[in-house]
């Protein structure tokens, strides 16, 4: 499922809203999630999961093409921990559905 398919699916379930508003709303939610994480704050959605940042220590890396050593600075990376409901639902249906893109 892609973002546009998600928008279509939501629009189908929200017939009282204009398609354009559903599109704006989805983009608004995604932007708010990105902003929150970029500011170093957590996101917690019960039953879905939580997003937080994980710290990565500075390290020496290598340019894979030239083999040259490069020093990489410390950074933060986004992390998602699925909530219990999502974990349980996905696992319970694994025999009924193949994984598809």
């Amino acid at each position: 499922m892609t973002k546009s398919e998600l928008i279509e699916a939501l629009a189908g379930q929200l017939p009282h809203l204009a398609f354009k508003d559903v599109e704006l709303a989805v983009n608004c939610v995604i932007e708010q999630m990105s902003e929150t994480l970029s500011a170093g704050d957590r996101i917690e959605i019960r039953g879905f999961g939580s997003f937080s940042l994980h710290h990565r220590a500075p390290r020496m890396g290598r340019n894979p093409k030239t083999g040259e050593a490069v020093s990489l600075t410390a950074k933060y990376v986004p992390h998602f921990k699925p909530g219990k409901e999502l974990r349980d639902r996905v696992d319970a249906s694994r025999d009924s559905f193949k994984i598809i893109d």
Partner: protein, 98 residues
């Protein structure tokens, strides 16, 4: 303070003028739609944000870290998240004051 569903709904109300009930419904459906897609084995790719992927793991031997007792970990399907380039770049700039 962590961001919750109420904060998302609040912003839909402020920015898009959805009424409180519509905003709440939209947020509930947004996360439910992603969950039900994953439940049906369908991975979810949100461009500019990231991809919710599925992985089938085979069973493996595990251990109770407290007692040291061996307990098998059953085969299962799990959800993983891979952040997109755009989100990674934005988050990397965070200097870490919190």
């Amino acid at each position: 303070m962590a961001l919750t569903k109420a904060d998302f709904a609040e912003r839909l109300f402020d920015e898009l003028g959805l009424n409180k009930r519509e905003a709440k419904e939209m947020i509930e459906l947004f996360f439910e739609e992603i969950k039900s897609s994953l439940e049906k084995g369908e991975q979810v790719k949100i461009s500019g944000f990231g991809k919710f992927e599925l992985r089938d793991k085979s069973s493996r031997p595990g251990r109770n870290p407290k007692t040291g007792e061996e307990i098998p970990i059953s085969a299962r399907r799990v959800v993983t998240f891979r952040s997109g380039q755009k989100l990674k770049a934005r988050v990397e700039q965070y200097a870490g004051a919190k």
